[in-house]
């Protein structure tokens, strides 16, 4: 039994025992009052003056009664209660105080033990069903604790997995940098090409790290959505223009509705999500392949759908869901520059805006990414961030 139990026990005990004593004394007092009253109205009242005079010893004056019948026996009473009643009060108060104190202190003690275990790193501890059977605020507290432990455990697992991936991904460019240096040492004439290689790898690493940090900030909830009304048609036109400027031989076909398509969201994040998908389509499509981009707005469901199709090989069937996980790249994609964060970011951003992303292989060949976004969207920034692993 902890300190809280004894504090509660003493408090409840004192409350109960004092209540007992007061109530018992009141009852006793009431009883005596009624006795006196009955005596006054029956025993003391003379049926007839003749009878009282002929037999005066049968009737006592009220003063005499007070001194004899109604007087409590002080040796066996507390105030005016019999000792047996007092003892019973003490016992019953102890039992009730104990039960009450235990029912409050026990769940708190259990919760404290589990919190200590969690603080020591054991996040697999669960309070339920030990205190969640009572269906009261304590059970809600227990369920909240269990949920917290589960989520923390998932988050830590996801982050350690991420760290493992990151260390692997950073090793590849580092290995190429070391080889560049080795090639120069082997043959100084390769200085220029090797330096260019080192510079390229440094840029890649920097880009990967900054993207990763952005995802982490976003995921940990440090970066809340700064929502404005985003004109998707203008956004798409801008992205397509940028891609064509950088890759002039790319063939992009853009179809959009005539009416304005506006969603609520954070402009630069939506831009990043869509940009990743369109650049992927250009990158993985065949040399002269066309990338078809179509924006649809369903007035009935209030949903915006963006389809991006390429004429490439697509991904293997079992990889369709996997490609949205960070650092996962399709087997056919391994010979194209990239590190597999783009689509993971897209999924993450779209889901934070209340939408979803789907990948499909097209027949006989080709690949399509479809982004669904709601136009009337509830407060997604309040949605809990999902683990993206």
């Amino acid at each position: 039994m902890g300190r809280l139990f004894w504090k509660l026990f003493v408090a409840f005990f004192l409350a109960l025992i004092s209540t007992d004593l007061i109530v018992s004394n009141l009852v006793e007092w009431e009883f005596h009052q009624s006795q006196i009253f009955r005596h006054d109205t029956s025993s003391l009242a003379c049926p007839s003056p003749a009878l009282c005079q002929s037999n005066p010893s049968q009737f006592k004056s009220p003063a005499t009664l007070e001194k004899t019948d109604v007087q409590p026996k002080a040796s066996k009473r507390v105030f005016s209660m019999p000792l047996s009643v007092v003892l019973f009060s003490l016992l019953s108060s102890s039992v009730f105080a104990g039960v009450l104190a235990w029912s409050i202190s026990h769940p708190i003690k259990l919760l404290l033990q589990h919190l200590k275990s969690a603080a020591e790193g054991d996040l697999l501890v669960r309070v339920s069903p030990k205190i969640t059977a009572s269906h009261d605020e304590f059970s809600e507290l227990g369920e909240a604790f269990d949920l917290m432990a589960l989520r923390l455990n998932n988050m830590i697992k996801s982050q350690s997995k991420m760290l493992h991936h990151v260390s692997h991904e950073l090793r590849s460019p580092l290995a190429r940098i070391q080889l560049s240096v080795g090639l120069v040492m082997q043959n100084p004439k390769k200085m220029q090409s090797s330096l260019q290689r080192v510079e390229l790898e440094a840029i890649r690493m920097e880009r990967m790290i900054s993207e990763l940090l952005e995802v982490f900030r976003f995921e940990s909830g440090m970066q809340k959505l700064q929502k404005i009304e985003v004109d998707l048609k203008a956004l798409l036109t801008g992205i397509v223009g940028d891609v064509l400027f950088e890759k002039q031989d790319a063939k992009l076909r853009l179809e959009m509705p005539e009416t304005a398509v506006v969603v609520e969201g954070q402009l630069e994040l939506l831009q990043r999500a869509i940009d990743n998908v369109i650049r992927n389509a250009v990158k993985y499509g065949p040399e002269n392949g066309v990338v078809a981009i179509e924006l649809q707005h369903s007035a009935r469901t209030g949903e915006v759908i963006l389809e991006v199709q390429d004429q490439g090989q697509g991904v293997e069937q079992q990889e369709l869901d996997q490609i949205f996980r960070p650092f996962v790249r399709g087997r056919r994609a391994s010979q194209v520059d990239g590190h597999g964060i783009g689509l993971a970011m897209t999924k993450h951003i779209v889901e934070a805006h209340g939408g979803f992303v789907k990948a499909t292989n097209l027949s006989p060949h080709g690949f399509m990414i479809r982004i669904h976004l709601p136009t009337q969207h509830d407060a997604t920034s309040d949605q809990e961030p999902k683990n993206w692993l």
Partner: protein
Amino acid sequence: MSKLLLIDDDVELANMLKEFLTQEGFTVTTAHDGLTGEQYVLAGKFDLVILDVMMPGQDGLQTLRNVRQHSDIPVLMLTAKDDNEGRIEGLEGGADDYVQKPCLPRELVARIRAILRRQTSDTPKGNDIVVGQLVVSSERRKVFWVDKPIVFTSTEFSLIEILAKHAGTIVSKEDLSVKALGRPLVKYDRSIDVHLSSIRQKISEVSGGVNVIQTIYRVGYQLVRE
């Protein structure tokens, strides 16, 4: 001129490595996924395989296991894994040695040469070494339990050969590392232990559970003379 097969999904790295190794006097063929690499190993005439562990599709460890079912060609694993588990897994799967990515290209070349030297070891030909029922033939690079052959990788053979030459005496891990792996022992390196464990298991399977290799804690190993 030794022929090397390089299996790595990182095309740029593979091409740079090929360039570097060619300058060092090797003939290099590259493959960019496990399945293709496996077919090359089984079809081609290579002296050594450099195999990356993490590859999409069939990874390096699976490729190694498949290769080991048909061939005892020396295999050097390239691993970007930052844990001992990955390395040990590779060695247990039958790799001769491993190099952690990123590595100095010079070190990689030194490891390749050490493995190849063991292949063409200048051990004087002639008498087989006989220790109890174990027969180690340096000439054929083969090991027998009485007359049953035991299939060892190149590194495993080098280790058992050193122990057989010094049968009855303790050989330190440092000596084993230098003579068999061609490199000094580094802290926390468990390669020797993993190789010896594999050798023990292979001998035990053929001999019906006889353990001929004794571990002397924190010192080394010895092949027991019966």
